[in-house]
Symmetry: C2
Subunit: 159 residues, 2 copies
Amino acid sequence: MQKTKRLLAIEKLIAEEIITSQDGLLKKLKGKGIICTQATLSRNLRQLGVSRVPDGTGGYRYSLTENKRLSPDSGIKLNIVPVIREIVEAKGLMVIRTIPGNANATAYYIDNAGRYEIAGTIAGDDTILVIPRDDITLQQVHTCLELVLPGLHKQIKKK
Amino acid sequence: MQKTKRLLAIEKLIAEEIITSQDGLLKKLKGKGIICTQATLSRNLRQLGVSRVPDGTGGYRYSLTENKRLSPDSGIKLNIVPVIREIVEAKGLMVIRTIPGNANATAYYIDNAGRYEIAGTIAGDDTILVIPRDDITLQQVHTCLELVLPGLHKQIKKK
DNA sequence: TTATAAAGTGTATATATTTGCAAAGTAAAT
DNA sequence: ATTTACTTTGCAAATATATACACTTTATAA
């Protein structure tokens, strides 16, 4: 998916470099072969929860939320995906089945992504219940999870 | 001081209400009898370190820094001021004399204000050394301390 | 006090960000 | 494959925010 790739690249850039404007970000992305318009970045930054903060010296810079600032370890993410077996939707909730014993770790990971869309999770041994907030569609939750666990959509057979 | 009053009012409003634009803030302030222009707010918000963050539902709101979000207890602030006896400047540093035994508590308070201007503090029994960052003038530190401890300027005899 | 320097402010303008809308792209269902 | 519903995007325009400059106020020094 084109968008997911861009979102991840944006997060990485903001975590590692000092981005002071959307136009600046636009150029950095272009340097990495990712082309879009500033309008798209505006929308993406909002979706990612990126805020604009004074840098203390007279300028501004973009900054990730508290949760994401911690570990920019983009390596771990992909390793969690293979433990997921299936995703089932029911009653506006989402049930994720993992291989046995892996539900808790995965749920913990999802919780710590600090996504607005997800009100919370409950995990057993191989099952996670994901509870979306009011007015959040399951499709939005899918998109959101794809961000948290890139590559998810390839692993799972939905419904 | 006119500006200090406005800065404190801005912080309070942002801590207690949802402010989504500078124009909105402008009107709230007007409601409290504080008049200025949007341009001034733009400058003030930057000085206060206020950031603009996505609220997760499609909009943006202004938000105080982590430190300031914690206690909006505007009551305590004034009580600390009377313990300060004198402020002396030397070698680009600032030395604050308090009544005996009160240096640590006061320094702790200053530290926790999370001001960019102040690199750090060291406190003894009745003496605090305030170390400003490079390129920060002592005047800026004064202004900054006045924010942290409103009313300071009335209590102390400088130099 | 008066003179001098520094900080603060408003106005108008420049710059940056957001958004309505139509088009293009994607995914799901038939 | 085709239709249908939904998401994503660019463009252009609207909105929001930042700043240069001139002026005013406030602080500092003599």
